[in-house]
């Protein structure tokens, strides 16, 4: 846990290491045809189930019984989407998922940045112990507390409401750890000291110095949090009702009929996955950067 995050852009464009590199042999083995072939195979392996889900979603359910099975898109997509929206409250589910994921994201990013600022840049008694506790809680399986959490929600009558899904995820140990790592590198101590000399109190320092510097990491944390919240399954399934679900709960309702209507349930998975695919297509590069920066540090 000792190493820290690198600042993405400045480090990459720093001229010094690049100059040192010149005159050396190539840094990494160059990829040959076989490498690309393997990678292409893996890319197809990654993409195929999603493509297949779209194929099934665009077919009539009976078309699946054909030999050979259909491999191209059919013409029934709109009809299936209509059916899916008629079978489960999908519009409601999409709205709910959006509300849940957005609230959790805003809260996690804000509180993680605040706490990360304190842990990375401020000295106070108990700091190391608290940070250790936070890292420790990352290892505790989430399902351990699910029974009492339900009892608690039943007692305060939050079962069946979005509060029950949002509240437990408002803070994230991973988020605090991630922002602590990032901010300890990204904010120069001299800048904070200069601010102090000018009479800034810490909250102003946070607002004017730390927040702007935290923006790249906050964006990455926000995206990871949003995706995790959007995809969360067990707890929403337990605490929400099929009438007022999140997308994942609606999916499980779609898939749970006595006779499995695959063109219907895979239409559901397609609808549920498209918003994430859009986000991933636009910001995937940063998401990958975030995972690669955040995860090695174990």
């Amino acid at each position: 846990m000792t190493s820290t995050l690198t600042r993405p852009t400045p480090a990459r464009h720093a001229p010094a290491p690049r100059m040192r590199r010149t005159g050396r042999r190539p840094r990494a083995a160059t990829a040959g045809r076989l490498t690309y072939l393997f990678l292409l195979g893996f890319a197809l392996f990654s993409a195929f189930p999603l493509y297949w889900s779209l194929v099934v979603a665009s077919q009539d359910n009976s078309a699946l019984g054909q030999v050979p099975p259909p491999v191209l898109l059919g013409g029934n997509l709109m009809e299936n989407i209509e059916r899916a929206f008629g079978t489960v409250p999908f519009l409601r589910a999409l709205t709910n998922s959006f509300i849940v994921s957005a609230s959790i994201t805003v809260s996690v990013v804000l509180f993680s940045t605040l706490a990360g600022f304190a842990f990375a840049k401020l000295r106070f008694r108990g700091r190391n112990a608290m940070l250790l506790i936070i890292i420790g809680t990352m290892m505790v399986p989430t399902q351990l507390g699910i029974i009492p959490l339900y009892i608690l929600m039943a007692k305060i009558q939050w079962t069946g409401t979005l509060y029950a899904v949002i509240a437990p995820s408002l803070v994230s140990a991973f988020g605090v750890f991630f922002m602590t790592q990032y901010l300890s590198e990204a904010v120069p101590n001299e800048l904070l000291e200069a601010g102090r000399v000018d009479g800034c109190h810490t909250l102003r320092l946070f607002w004017h110095v730390v927040l702007p510097a935290a923006r790249p990491a906050a964006a990455v944390l926000g995206m990871l949090t949003f995706m995790t919240a959007w995809n969360d399954f067990f707890w929403p399934l337990v605490v929400l009702t099929p009438e007022d679900p999140t997308v994942q709960v609606a999916l499980s309702t779609l898939a749970s009929g006595y006779i499995q209507d695959f063109s219907l349930s895979l239409t559901g998975t397609t609808i549920a996955t498209v918003p994430l695919l859009v986000v991933f297509g636009l910001l995937g590069k940063h998401i990958i950067g975030g995972i690669m920066q955040g995860a090695v540090k174990g």
Partner: protein, 299 residues
């Protein structure tokens, strides 16, 4: 108050204010439920009942005598091995390829991560179709090669393979990116001299890369232990929302059993006990895997 006292209050007091939101919310929705689980597990606790008589350790003794619990434990362990070992080995290989100088590296990395952004529920439903008995694509493919149809859900081994395939598909690329990040920190001179000594790419992977990124490998093993022992959506949706994990419980995992006990029988005391036992299993397995992976280093 004087300016300097205000200043000192700000410097010494404000950090606590900044970390407070985390600890307050975590205390209510994270720490309290954990501790309370232990308390609930010592009682006969039905959600609807007013009284919760104290039972002592009876829930735990009942659990250890419960064949369904042992069945779920076996299934969980089997699915964990079937999914984690191939997944991490494949991730290593993929990372090794991604670590070469590539054209369009971001494209290849994104394609590796694509499965991971798909929700578990979606993955389970899609693979439920792929591994379907009658119209499943896998069975059709087997048919092309002359093999007979397999009823993937019906058998213990076959259902475990199908569920493992979901986990492998969703997590291989993610782990590859984590390995890749670690590999990029390995000193490239090591590879240069290995190449001069005539080591091929595979030897470089096993002799240089794997030893160098061992801490990361241990980390991924631990993380996949914690995650893999909590599988719920995959077996649940594979069986078409069958809470028993198949007609003979052939693919009911520990989490699924916890769900069954807690939220169909509403026997919260018993479910809380199984949650704690599950936690114990995870800690033991994580520690065991840590021990195993660190021993590999020396051999």
């Amino acid at each position: 108050m004087s300016r300097s006292r205000l200043y000192r209050l700000d410097v010494h007091g404000s950090p606590y204010l900044y970390v407070a939101p985390f600890f307050v919310i975590f205390a209510i929705f994270g720490a309290f439920p954990l501790v309370y689980t232990a308390w609930v597990s010592l009682h006969e606790w039905n959600l609807l009942a007013e009284e919760h008589p104290f039972l002592g350790l009876a829930n735990y003794t009942a659990l250890f005598a419960d064949p369904y619990f042992w069945n779920a434990l076996r299934n969980t362990a089997s699915i964990w091995v079937l999914s984690t070992v191939p997944q991490l080995v494949m991730a290593l290989g993929l990372a090794h390829l991604l670590n070469r100088r590539l054209r369009a590296p971001t494209f290849w990395r994104m394609s590796a991560l694509l499965p991971n952004i798909t929700s578990v529920a979606a993955v389970a439903i899609i693979f439920g179709q792929l591994f379907g008995r009658d119209y499943g694509l896998v069975n059709w493919l087997l048919g092309v090669f002359g093999a007979g149809k397999i009823d993937w859900q019906a058998g213990t081994a076959t259902s475990h393979i199908a569920i493992s395939a979901m986990v492998i598909w969703r997590w291989t690329g993610y782990n590859a990116l984590i390995y890749l990040a670690a590999m990029q920190a390995v000193n490239k001179d090591l590879y240069d001299s290995a190449e001069l000594d005539g080591a091929n790419s595979f030897q470089q992977l096993t002799k240089i890369t794997v030893p160098a990124i061992r801490p990361t490998i241990i980390f991924t093993v631990i993380v996949s232990t914690i995650g893999g022992l909590q599988l719920l959506a995959e077996p649940l949706l594979f069986g078409g929302s069958s809470i028993t994990g198949g007609s003979d419980r052939q693919f009911q995992t520990l989490s699924l059993y916890l769900y069954e006990v807690g939220f169909t029988r509403f026997d919260f005391g018993y479910a809380a006990a199984s949650a704690w036992v599950m936690f114990g299993v995870i800690v033991l397995a994580a520690a065991g895997n840590y021990w195993l992976t660190s021993r590999l280093r020396r051999s």
